[in-house]
Amino acid sequence: MVLAGGSFSDRTGDARDRGASLSRRNLIAGVCALVVSDGWAPGASGAAAENDEIVVIDGWVLARSDIARAWL
């Protein structure tokens, strides 16, 4: 599934390569594409920590750990 409204179209390769080369905007779109396509769950425990910081990037409301995960 391609996320409706998302701008990320390159859904090949692994997240590490993508994250290193993409702009922040596309990174976040990539995060969400992962959420949809791979059943990826954020955070080490599969859930955003209670005190996890909420960030808004390119309209996406995310946990800080979402971004960290995407850069792994």
Binding site: M1, V2, L3, A4, G5, G6, V31, C32, V35, V36, G39, A41, P42, G43, G46, A47, A48, E50, D52, I54, V56, D58, G59, W60, V61, L62, A63, D66
Partner: protein, 487 residues
């Protein structure tokens, strides 16, 4: 008794009625029935006929110089039953804190409390034929107290109040309904504080052309109530409820917008399974989130997205309902309370309708507070998805940027429960310094003219207004009965 003045004449006789009500919509009919049950003689002047007609609707035409909006002659119905004829049937009473919004209502909160309307909730629900409920007020654990699943009530099929009470009105010995009998003016005593009669215009067979009563009520909706008061005050020097210049101002609608699209993680569900029916579930802001925030209240609902590219088709999917079978992505909508704003207003136009009455010019405006409310509604939902690990939300660019004009505000986007609610133009107040009617709906400066309907709302909450309007009508019936009873 119902008399259509286009078909036959009517002689009201020499005795004044107890009450003359201008407007045969939900507010007027509820009031009349409640008074008739108490033995009062009531006459309703309904401008339209039994059903809508283009000729009748044309009287409602007006200019719009503000934000994009529904045309005035399409957003309400000039016929028996009023706008209940195109009502969706959604009901929700105000919350207690909706009456206490000193932080958003210029001049302060309502002069009445929820407790004063509560005794009339059951009666209002009965009049509106509320026969269905969905959901349950339930805090969402993952929202940190910001959101709750709420119970909505429904009139199904939506009660068209004119038809629903047609037999009652025809058989009543205490109620006279005149159809095609537009109230075109009022006569006052020399001081201007007492209405002595309402004039009836253009009725071909009306005899005479005016109706006398002890008390008079405007129940014509948020636009017409203000329109007539503005017209009369041209001759009365703003003495009739307009010391504060509030007539026509604080014009509010509910703000409606798709705020974003979301994806759900495996097994995720933004609505708790024990909150009620799978359909028709709303999430709303809580008192904890909203009180003293300076933001309007809001409610959210979702519609599922089935596959890529369906965003454009979303509006054709059932809105207001959540379709469990459609997969793991969705759109979320917000219906927000508009923050009262004096700059948002109705005024009289330079052109007249066929009855010679000045038409209305609408200048509907939203404020930065409204944009913040819409953004906060989206943010709260987004945070809720993160905290509960249900999914992730992408907020729409329009909402993030607060661009103006915003596409999709009001019911132009085709969703239910928003738009078309014309509120606040004759606001209730504790003193005549910042409102049009007092806590009993009596026009400031008048001894016998009342206003009832959404126009007296001081704030609009996120709730659909019809239930509250009928509660106000039933409360006014008690007030009038008490007053007439005391002589």
């Amino acid at each position: 008794m119902i008399v259509d003045l286009d078909e036959q004449a009517y002689d009201p006789g020499p005795e004044p009625f107890d009450v003359c009500v201008a407007g045969g919509g939900v507010a007027g009919i509820a009031l009349a029935i409640a008074l008739a049950d108490r033995g009062r003689r009531v006459i309703i002047l309904e401008a339209g006929g039994r059903a809508m007609s283009d000729v009748s609707q044309d009287h409602y035409r007006g200019d719009n110089v503000g934000l994009e909006n529904l045309p005035l002659h399409e957003s309400r119905v000039r016929a028996l039953g009023g706008s209940s004829n195109h009502w969706g049937g959604w009901c929700r009473p105000f919350d207690g804190f909706d009456f206490e919004r000193n932080d958003i209502a210029p001049g302060g909160a309502w002069p009445i409390s929820k407790e004063e309307l509560d005794p009339h909730l059951e009666g209002a629900a009965r009049i509106l034929g509320v026969n269905q409920a969905a959901g349950a007020d339930l805090d969402l654990a993952g929202s940190n107290g910001a959101l709750q699943a709420i119970r909505m009530f429904f009139s199904r099929p939506p009660a068209q109040v004119g038809l629903r009470f047609l037999d009652t009105l025809e058989r009543s010995g205490n109620i006279v309904v005149l159809l095609n009998a537009p109230m075109t003016g009022a006569e006052f005593d020399k001081i201007g504080g007492t209405v002595t009669s309402f004039r009836v215009g253009s009725a071909r067979k009306a005899v005479p052309d005016k109706v006398t009563a002890h008390l008079f009520v405007l129940a014509m909706g948020g636009v017409e109530n203000a329109r007539h008061l503005l017209i009369w005050n041209r001759f009365l020097g703003d003495r009739l409820g307009n010391r504060s210049k509030a007539i026509g101002r604080f014009y509010m609608q509910h703000l409606h917008q798709e705020v974003g699209q979301f994806v759900l993680l495996d097994g995720g569900d933004p609505v708790p399974p024990d909150s009620g029916s799978a359909q028709l579930i709303f999430l709303s802001s809580t008192e904890k989130l909203i009180s003293n925030s300076g933001l309007g209240a809001f409610r959210l609902y979702t519609a599922a997205l089935g596959c890529a590219g369906v965003v454009d088709d979303l509006k054709q999917i059932v809105t207001g309902a959540r379709c469990r079978s459609l997969g793991s992505a969705g759109a979320v909508f917000a219906t927000c309370e508009q923050i009262p704003n004096a700059a948002s207003h109705l005024a009289l136009d330079d052109t007249n309708d066929a009855l010679g009455l000045p038409r209305v010019r609408m200048d509907w405006r939203i404020s930065d507070g409204d944009r913040r409310t819409m953004l906060e509604a989206a943010m709260v939902f987004g945070r809720y998805l993160v905290r509960s690990n249900l999914g992730r939300l992408r907020i729409n660019r329009d909402v993030l940027d607060g661009a103006e004009p915003l596409r999709g505000w009001t019911m132009l986007s085709g969703a239910p429960g928003a738009g078309g609610h014309q509120l606040g133009t004759t606001r209730m107040s504790g003193t005549d310094a910042d409102g049009v009617v007092n806590r009993n709906c009596l026009v400031w400066g008048s001894r016998n003219l009342y206003v009832v309907g959404g126009s007296v709302f001081r704030t609009s909450a996120h709730a659909t207004p019809t239930l509250t309007i009928v509660q106000l009508s039933l409360r006014l019936a008690e007030e009038i009965q008490s007053r007439l009873g005391s002589g």
